[in-house]
């Protein structure tokens, strides 16, 4: 009961002191707000880049052309061989007839030329999707060595370049997000530290009248929590409305149809959750760190 009373009183005192020290609380709240907006922007960019990278990588596949005179049985053997590779996710067969139809649909000239020839000059093929694009070329090299395979196309050097570029971009974005979160943590905890510095005499008095360390710390921890949560309100609004409006304005993709934005719902709610948790946790840790300094523990 005693502990519960101290706990409840701490919450009450935290609200009281946020209000009574409003100018300082306001400074902390604004600082939290601004840094969380930055975090939100960075986070949305990061997740979208990650998502775009993934979807473009998914599109990458190996096209395997088979020799002109392969038999039905050979085709099945080659398929089984490709399938047995660890990195192979999916193998689709595309016969030369299918190719012919597709090309005819695409362009009338092709149709005329192809119909002029007695025999279909195209080749049967497999389209292979891989699990990990980083090993795309290894898998392609292996498939090339299977007998009955004529040529293997996977964009060769170009694909390798794109993949390594994506990897670099992804890493840079992750570093930026982590750096921003650290900066946020530092800024918020520093501002709260200043707030608490102005109240170190209060902490001293609490000690003198016999408040236990935990009873002194609790109101400050709740105060940090309140400041963090209030500070995340505006960033959350900006995230939700801003992203929904942006998504609508861009029709869901940037530059080309290749880079597709993530659907706003539930994505914005996840980002909001991250913001409020980040604000609250950083607020609490910041004030805890600041109080400890004056507690002589």
């Amino acid at each position: 009961m005693r502990a519960v009373r101290i706990f409840v009183r701490s919450i009450r005192d935290a609200f009281k002191s946020v209000l009574r020290n409003f100018s300082l609380s306001f400074a902390s709240i604004m600082c939290t707000t601004i840094t969380l907006i930055l975090v939100s922007v960075a986070l949305i960019c990061a997740v979208n880049i990650e998502n775009a990278t993934k979807s473009i990588e998914d599109e990458l596949s190996i096209v395997v052309y088979l020799d002109g005179e392969v038999t039905e049985e050979q085709i099945n053997n080659i398929r089984a061989d490709i399938d047995s590779q660890d990195n192979v996710a999916e193998v689709t067969f595309k016969s030369k007839t299918e190719w012919k139809e597709e090309m005819s649909d695409y362009d009338d000239t092709f149709e005329t030329v192809l119909n002029y020839l007695d025999e279909n000059p195209l080749m049967d093929s497999f389209i292979v999707r891989v699990e990990d694009v980083n090993h795309l070329s290894d898998t392609a090299e292996y498939i090339k060595s299977i007998s009955g395979v004529d040529t293997v196309k996977y964009g060769e050097g170009m694909v390798d370049n794109i993949i390594s570029a994506f990897n670099v971009v992804e890493k840079i974005v992750i570093v930026i997000v982590i750096a921003l979160i650290l900066v946020t943590a530092f800024l918020i905890s520093n501002t709260i530290k200043l707030t608490i510095f102005s109240r170190r005499s209060a902490i001293e008095i609490m000690r003198l009248v016999g408040a236990s360390n935990i009873a002194i710390k609790l109101p400050f921890i709740f105060e940090g929590f309140i400041i963090g949560v209030i500070g995340s309100i505006i960033p959350i609004c900006i995230t939700i409305y801003g992203y929904v409006i942006l998504y609508g304005a861009l029709n869901g993709h940037v530059f080309s149809n290749m880079i597709v934005l993530i659907e706003p719902y539930n994505f914005v709610f996840w980002v909001s959750l991250v913001l409020v948790v980040l604000g609250a946790v950083v607020g609490m840790l910041g004030s805890l760190k600041a109080v400890r300094k004056y507690l002589k523990i």
Partner: protein, 233 residues
């Protein structure tokens, strides 16, 4: 056993200054003791070792059966709850009202609101501030602020009240009133009182036991009424 007992207490600060040298003294329950001495005589250090703001370098300080020097930082609150402390600079929380300042000492112990209210009101009544309950410290005079500080110190009925120059910032008339309040607490509640001061008038007039500290040494221990001004301070 005596209520307060210091045995061969030494205190040397980190910068090499010796504040207390081999001080041994004992004080009975219910006594009223003045601690006098010049500035930097060790008087403040003596008072601070009693409520564990300073740890003695060697020797033992016993207060109400607790070995004060052995208390860890995290457990100091257990001692502080048993004693009341009054300061020269009041140390009130400026953002809390008079009532809240006094109630604070009970709230942080986890007492029920129902129990807190009558205790706070009776403490404020004793110091004569019942009608200033809703004021903030900044709206009170120095004497009134000191009364709030006294009310906060006695609200949990401590056995020991430590006063560190409680009249240092007050004019002579206000000082007299404050001393009346403190003396009343000693007489009515039987609280042991240890008061550091350099106000000679008060010491002369009240004729209590006097401890004289000079250069960190207990230079004199005068029984009730035997202290004369010309002997020091």
């Amino acid at each position: 056993m005596k209520f307060i007992e210091l045995k061969n207490v030494n205190k040397v600060y980190k910068n090499g200054v010796t504040a207390l040298a081999d001080v041994s003294v004992s004080i009975e329950k219910g006594e009223f003791v003045f601690v006098i001495g010049l500035t930097a005589s060790g008087k403040s250090t003596f008072i601070k070792t009693l409520y564990r703001e300073e740890k003695p370098t060697s020797g033992t300080v016993m207060v109400g059966g607790l070995n004060v020097g052995k208390i860890r930082n995290g457990k100091v609150y257990k001692l502080r709850r048993k004693i009341g402390i009054v300061f020269q600079d009041f140390k009130l929380l400026p953002k809390l009202t008079v009532y809240e300042n006094v109630a604070f000492a009970l709230e942080c112990v986890g007492m029920k609101d129902k129990e807190i209210r009558p205790k706070v009101m009776s403490a404020l009544e004793r110091v004569g501030l019942k009608d200033k309950v809703r004021s903030f410290p900044g709206e009170l005079s120095g004497g009134e602020q000191q009364r709030v500080c006294i009310a906060r110190a006695i609200v949990n009925r401590p056995k020991l009240l430590i006063c560190d120059e409680p009249t240092g910032n007050l004019d002579p008339d206000t000082s007299k009133e404050i001393m009346k309040v403190i003396e009343g607490i000693n007489k009515d509640l039987g609280t042991t009182i240890i008061m550091a001061t350099h106000d000679r008038d008060i010491v002369n007039r009240m004729k209590k036991r006097v401890l004289l500290i000079e250069h960190g040494v207990l230079a004199g221990d005068y029984a009730k009424g035997s202290y004369k001004t010309h002997e020091g301070s």
